[in-house]
Symmetry: C2
Subunit: 300 residues, 2 copies
């Protein structure tokens, strides 16, 4: 079964073509209207990202999703992604369990490490702990999902010695996906845990991710998880218009602006239409080996 | 100007009279309908508490309030209270700023130390730091409200060295109240900071709190805050029916159940109608001097 949805980061930037800027309150209103429309036309899922930057309004995705839940009937509502490394899994579970009650069982979590790094200094974390933080917090999040009363200890969060986490969600289990970029070990970890996989393709051709998805399925199979649990989702940049040319023309100004701005922080060359007619943008690099992502599993 | 509203803890307990228990998802649905009705009939404000216990569904109040925001037009939406001592003020501000955008400027925060103590072990905090945690985190919350880019350091949270907190709310400033129980120094602190005061009267007669409110206003005046900034709110147990007798009859079973259960943890005698015809319940004790609250300012 294939499901189709939309993810948004609640971007609140000026339109480079018109110079018009929406106020944050207008942008939020439009976003909720977009989710309502997505529900009405029958899309399966709407996701809200998590960022801690001026140009995105999505630092508290569960709060936005709860407002959307009150205005929709069928569409599933997910984070895209929850930056779990920088969060307290207890709070994350509480927020999404609450959302699940409000939405009558339509909540999902996509838990990831985050593509931007602002959340690390903001929440007092070290970028060196990038992966360890995620592994440990995912372990705790799954423990909370498994049992109301939790016994758990780790390095980056106070232990739980049987404390209970409420409310409990309507869905049992509450869906928890692992959001991955291009890091092979992330694909393998998700497979070993038997968790559904959400692949964020910020840049690069989708087909390049096929070997990594194969590695995910193989890891899941070896760990004894049935194949129907090993679902794969793609989060990718997309834009629809009546013709390909129209889509490219409408999409390019905003795309170029955003990726040029992000590129300044990440050392990418300025985005030009000649270099990237729409997309893909310069490929992001693996944090471990510094090679363009996806780097091959053999390299790590 | 007087405003009237309702606070709820989203209690999900069986009705002692009928034995019927609502499911969490039904209770949440009813709560949202109650807020919608409160808005329609013109109440000024609706508050949601924060607890981490089986019988309350309100561990993530901003998430519930966001759903309410999408279904209401005029009513103000507040926490009652946010247990700030156990929270990260950055996340609290982000959540309520998001709520403020969603609700077009109807969000408020009542920040307190909490009446229950579950949140301390759940979030790895020591009860000995009960007051220090609150003072420090309130300081940070106010700093975030004051400036987008925050420079702050303290003992119980990683420092901020100019990191920015987004989104910014529509209201400037976002209303932040101090929620107090019966501790005199809490009243004085709120006055010195020039913050509006929300007095939680869980038990005891409202008139007993008058000297403390006077101390609040006096502290505020001495600190140079104009009297119109020194608003006072009451959060108290209430129940309406056609007659006093009917109110007492309808209210008593649930009241007795709840306060007997809480009393087991706090060392109160069982609630009986002879002892407390409706209310007040046995008065809670001051955490500092162990005398029944409100203890007099002279004692601390």
């Amino acid at each position: 079964m294939m499901q189709i949805g939309i993810d948004s980061f609640a971007a609140a930037i000026s339109d480079p073509a018109t110079g018009l800027t929406l106020s944050p309150v207008e942008r939020m209103q439009h976003l909720l209207e977009e989710i309502e429309l997505a529900d009405q036309v029958g899309l399966d899922v709407f996701g809200i990202g998590e960022h801690h930057r001026a140009e995105f309004l999505d630092s508290a995705p569960a709060v936005i999703l709860a407002a959307a839940a009150a205005r929709t009937r069928n569409i599933r509502l997910t984070s895209a992604v929850t930056v779990l490394s920088a969060a307290d899994p207890v709070r994350v579970f509480q927020e999404f369990a609450t959302l699940d009650l409000i939405s009558h069982g339509r909540a999902e979590i996509v838990a990831g490490r985050g593509s931007f790094v602002e959340s690390y200094p903001l929440f007092g974390l070290r970028l060196e702990d990038y992966d360890e933080l995620f592994a440990e917090k995912l372990d705790l999040l799954l423990a909370i999902r498994e049992n109301t009363h939790v016994k758990w200890s780790g390095k980056h969060r106070a232990p739980l010695t049987g404390q209970a986490v409420y409310p409990r969600p309507l869905q049992d289990p509450l869906p928890i996906w692992v959001g991955v970029g291009g890091t092979p070990t992330s694909f393998v970890r998700a497979g070993m845990l038997g968790l559904p996989l959400m692949v964020a393709i910020i840049g690069g051709e989708p087909k390049r991710f096929r070997p990594l998805v194969d590695a995910y399925r193989e890891a899941g199979r070896r760990a004894g998880h049935p194949s129907e649990r090993l679902s794969v989702g793609l989060h990718a940049i997309g834009f629809l218009a009546d013709t390909t040319q129209q889509a490219a023309d409408d999409f390019y100004p905003g795309y170029a602006h955003t990726f040029t701005e992000i590129g300044k922080e990440r050392g990418w060359p300025p985005t030009t239409r000649a270099r990237s007619p729409g997309w893909p943008p310069p490929r992001p690099r693996c944090r471990a080996c510094r090679r363009p992502r996806p780097c091959s599993p053999a390299r790590t």
